[in-house]
Each structure stands twice: as structure tokens, then as C-alpha cells.
Symmetry: C2
Subunit: 217 residues, 2 copies
């Protein structure tokens, strides 16, 4: 049994739930999900930091005690030997390339804008960062839109872990004030992802966070 | 022949020069290095953006026209099948985990602080970001220090691409105002990296950048 420490509203954590769904792994049979509220300090306790000194979710733990952190590395391990991380060395590296793009050029803008809108007080000084985050996030979406003019997927051999990684925060980008209407190929790609066998949607986020998002501009 | 588009003072680009050195690949025989000054707009030309819409270095191009971006993905491809990216699926994913850590929790602080110190004017408003960048960068170095209390290397099976990825900006962290004296295991690890067969040092950076670094606080 794999233990997943995850915060359900986190796109990084949701990636794992998605891939586990595609792979047919069942909650409470094949994996257990330990809800770990990183927005309220659950990753900063001494107990958690002893397991992951970087204090982030997701993290997985195997029955023999081995642990792994970093959402995209966990995807690579779970998908090893499956069609979700397939191809020759060049193709697998191209898949990884989009996953590094996601963590460096996409998540720090699109996920962080969403976090500020929905998980910080309405008067948080961090809201002053939103225009810059949205500018950079739009640049990332433009890079994705351009790629989709020539390819259906970000993973090199068809739908796979690069798509799952990018879906994590792209599908909820509107929470951070991004308008995907300017990126029609991205919108179509999100629909193609949702049509994949075993797709699992992100659980609804809490009223408190929805209310903060509704008040954000 | 592999063509590398790289900016020599960039730690992300230097990673490739290091691995090519370890693999015994010779400049102008096995690869050509096209110096691409990302600090002065060379990655924002229409010609470059046509090849890499994300406008970053490094990028590699093969003789058949195929291209790859993202330094750590390129490392994974170049090292495939070599001792620098070895082990079973779990071990390779652990190596990738440190490479995702590098791009998400290390480079955005340690590399960006160095860039601000050495590549922006002495009166740049971006210098106001330095205290926050240094705080986060120190956190990343503390995570590395702790890992090194139990392991000699970041790559799962011995010296490899996770070490190369982390060496890229750790070895020049002082340029951004980081004092490595507080991280003695990191200092020892840097020395172990420098002792590896085929190690290639980063070329000296320009006087102009050195002068800006010297004036930084």
C-alpha cells in the first residue's frame, strides 16, 4: 500500500490522484490518502519535517518506510513501464522537459496566483504580486498554446505524465484570475484530458476559499 | 554533433558542459557551443524564439533538427544508460526528485540572487528582493546540508546528474551573497564534485559582472 500525504486542493497533489486513477489504483485498497493541510501548517510540524525537510506536499511513503517527494518525480516512478511515461530515452526526456517547464515557468505563477486569491486574506499584501504573476502565467499558457498547434499532448508518446503535471494547475487557473478563453487549444486539451479513462476530478474546494476567490480581482 | 545554445556564466547552461566533460565529449568534435547571451536579449530574438518559445537557455539541437530545452531534461537524455543516471525506477525517480527540488526550491532563490547582484545595475529596484531570496536560498542549502549528513551524493547511485544540477548554482552561490561556511557538508560535497573525472569548471565571469558583485551587499 502506498501512503500519499497530500492536500486535496493542491494541483501538485492532485497530479498523483489523477495518475493513480488512470492506473486503476483504488483508494484504501492500493493507496491511502493522508489529508495534510499545507495551507494551515501541517507540513511544518516537527513530525512532518522529519520525513520531508523541505516541508512540502505531496510525499509518498511505502510500507517499508521508503519515501519520495516532488510531485513530478513521484509521477515518473508511478508511471514507469506504463504508457503514461513511454518512449525511448529522447522521448522520455522530452516528457520530463515539459514537467520541468511546469515547475519552473508555470506553477510559480499560475499556482501561486491561485493560492494568493483563495488562501490569503482579502487584504494580504501579497495581492500586490498578482499583476506580475498573471503576466508570467499568461506567458506560460502562450507557450502551451503554441505547442498544441502541432501536438495533441505534452507527453512525447500520447497522453501521459507531462499532461497530468500541466493539468494540475491549468484546469483551475481561473481561480487565480486567468482567463483561458484566449487559449482555445489549451481549453480543448483540458477537455481531452478529462475524457481519458480513469480520469479523476479535483475534489471541490472549501466555501471559505471559494469566497476569497470570488472577492479577488 | 550536438549544438548547445548556452550562456557560459549560467549555472543551468554549465550543467551541460560539466556532464559533457564527464562523458568525454570534446568541444568542436562531439558538440559545438553557441554562446547565447541571455542577459542581453539573445534568447528574445525572433530567430531564437522560433526554436524555443519559452526564450531560455540552454537548448540543444541535433543534426537532424530535433531540439530539447530545460537543462535537467537535457541532462537526463545525455546521461541515459550511463552511471550518471543509473539505478532502478525508484532510484532514477529519486535522482529526478532532487532535480525538481533544484529547479523549484533552489534555483529561483540562489541563481536569481546571483543574477540580481551581478547582472542588474547597482541601483536596480530588484535588489530589494535580495533579503527574501537569501532567506529562501538558505532554506534550500539547509535541506541539502541535512541530506549530506546521511549520503555522499544527491543522485541515488553515486555521483550523477542530480549532483551536477545542484552544483550548477551552489558552487557560485557566494556571487549572490550566500555564505556557505554555515553548510560545511555542502562545502565538502562541492570539493568531491570537483574531484570527479572529467570535471570542467565554469569559465570566469566578466569583469563587469564581478564589479557589480563586489559592490553588492
Amino acid at each position: 500500500m502506498i501512503t500519499v500525504y497530500g492536500y486535496s486542493p493542491s494541483g501538485n497533489c492532485h497530479k498523483l490522484r489523477m495518475l493513480l486513477g488512470h492506473l486503476g489504483r483504488q483508494p484504501d485498497r492500493d493507496f491511502r490518502w493522508i489529508e495534510t493541510d499545507s495551507a494551515h501548517g501541517a507540513t511544518r510540524t516537527p513530525q512532518y519535517l522529519a520525513k520531508n525537510p523541505n516541508g512540502r506536499v505531496p510525499m509518498i511513503e511505502l510500507d517499508d518506510g521508503r519515501r519520495m517527494v516532488e510531485s513530478n518525480a513521484i509521477l515518473a516512478w508511478l508511471a514507469d513501464g506504463t504508457p503514461y511515461f513511454a518512449g525511448d530515452a529522447w522521448q522520455r526526456a522530452q516528457t520530463l522537459s515539459w514537467m520541468f517547464f511546469e515547475q519552473y515557468s508555470h506553477e510559480p505563477y499560475i499556482a501561486v496566483a491561485r493560492f494568493i486569491c483563495g488562501w490569503t486574506p482579502a487584504d494580504s499584501p501579497r495581492r500586490a504580486d498578482l499583476p506580475r504573476l498573471r503576466e508570467r502565467g499568461h506567458q506560460a499558457l502562450a507557450v502551451m498554446e503554441r505547442h498544441l498547434s502541432a501536438s495533441d499532448w505534452f507527453s512525447a508518446t500520447g497522453y501521459g505524465i507531462a499532461d497530468i503535471a500541466l493539468f494540475g494547475y491549468t484546469h483551475c487557473a481561473a481561480d487565480g484570475g486567468f482567463d483561458l478563453a484566449a487559449f482555445p487549444r489549451v481549453v480543448d486539451w483540458l477537455e481531452r484530458v478529462r475524457a481519458q479513462p480513469g480520469f479523476v476530478a479535483m475534489p471541490p474546494i472549501a466555501e471559505e476559499n471559494l469566497a476569497l476567490i470570488a472577492r479577488s480581482s
